[in-house]
Assembly symmetry: C2
Homo-oligomer: 147 residues x 2
DNA sequence: TTACTATTGAAAAAAAATTGCAATAAGGTC
DNA sequence: GACCTTATTGCAATTTTTTTTCAATAGTAA
């Protein structure tokens, strides 16, 4: 599908002196076919269901590379493990998570990036990513578990 | 020291029909004596060094309560485990984390709370907490590992 | 094609968090 | 204060997540 992220990843891998393997590309492609957040287990099962026998170890080894080159981001830690999303080609966005139903909504606000940019500029920071989360009880759930 | 968080915690525990135990209070007090981020292991060792034989299980069981009543917050997940901080009595603040030296800096910006408040209002959300993180390479580290 | 060595899958290990259980103790009632 | 009910505790075992080890495989440059 989208060629760009593949090129970015390949260039990144080459530039680091690493090897561009089929496993790495398959993982990348699968991640970019998921239009939602995912965790390692989900990704592993999706690959498996498509006939790819890629180990979880390879997924765990590939994710940091994808994160380092800015294609993927850790979104939030929930239920004892990390959840990810692909971010290349998407505007930076914030997440609301309902503490009751666990629903996750995305939204954007230019002020968030502004704050980050200004802070980075002020302190000479090489900004890599931002994460903004709002936690609370959604309209449907408030009043139930929500105090 | 500060009596308020103790009262808040006790009231919260009572309101839930739970029991206010010495262990819970000791954990609370210790957390509020740490003026930095901490993880479960650090907290456990601090308690142990002071002669308290409180198990990690109790810490793991107490933290969600402290979070639920708004005294403590999960700050970030790093090195495979969660890091916490006490938030009662502090202004909401954002965190910058250097991906190289791991340094963590705090800063405030009213726009962040504004965005959260507006979003909550717009969707009828009962806002519980926000988390804003900036990840990148600090002035000292940029250029080294920082692409 | 050859040589070098990074990467892989599988299994083991490590680390983090949760759970089961018997003993203890909080806190309400008499 | 004694008694009763049951939540909480510490410990150990377990579960879950992530990392590491290692022999076999396979990229990639020469």
């Amino acid at each position: 599908m989208n060629v760009s992220e593949i090129e970015i990843f390949r260039d990144f891998i080459k530039k680091k002196g690493l090897r561009y393997t089929p496993e790495r590309e398959i993982i990348l492609k699968e991640i970019f076919s998921i239009h939602d957040h995912f965790d390692v287990d989900e990704l592993y099962l999706r690959l498996r269901n498509k006939g790819h026998r890629i180990s979880k170890a390879s997924i765990y080894r590939t994710l940091p590379l994808l994160i380092e080159c800015g294609l993927v981001q850790e979104v939030y830690h929930e239920d004892g493990h990390m959840h990810y999303e692909h971010i290349y080609g998407h505007e930076p966005h914030a997440h609301f998570r309902c503490l009751s139903c666990r629903r996750v909504e995305e939204f954007q606000d230019p002020r968030l990036e502004e704050v980050a940019q200004e802070y980075a500029q002020k302190y000479g920071i090489d900004l890599k990513m931002t994460r903004f989360e709002i936690l609370g009880y959604c309209a449907n759930c408030r009043g139930k578990g929500g105090l």
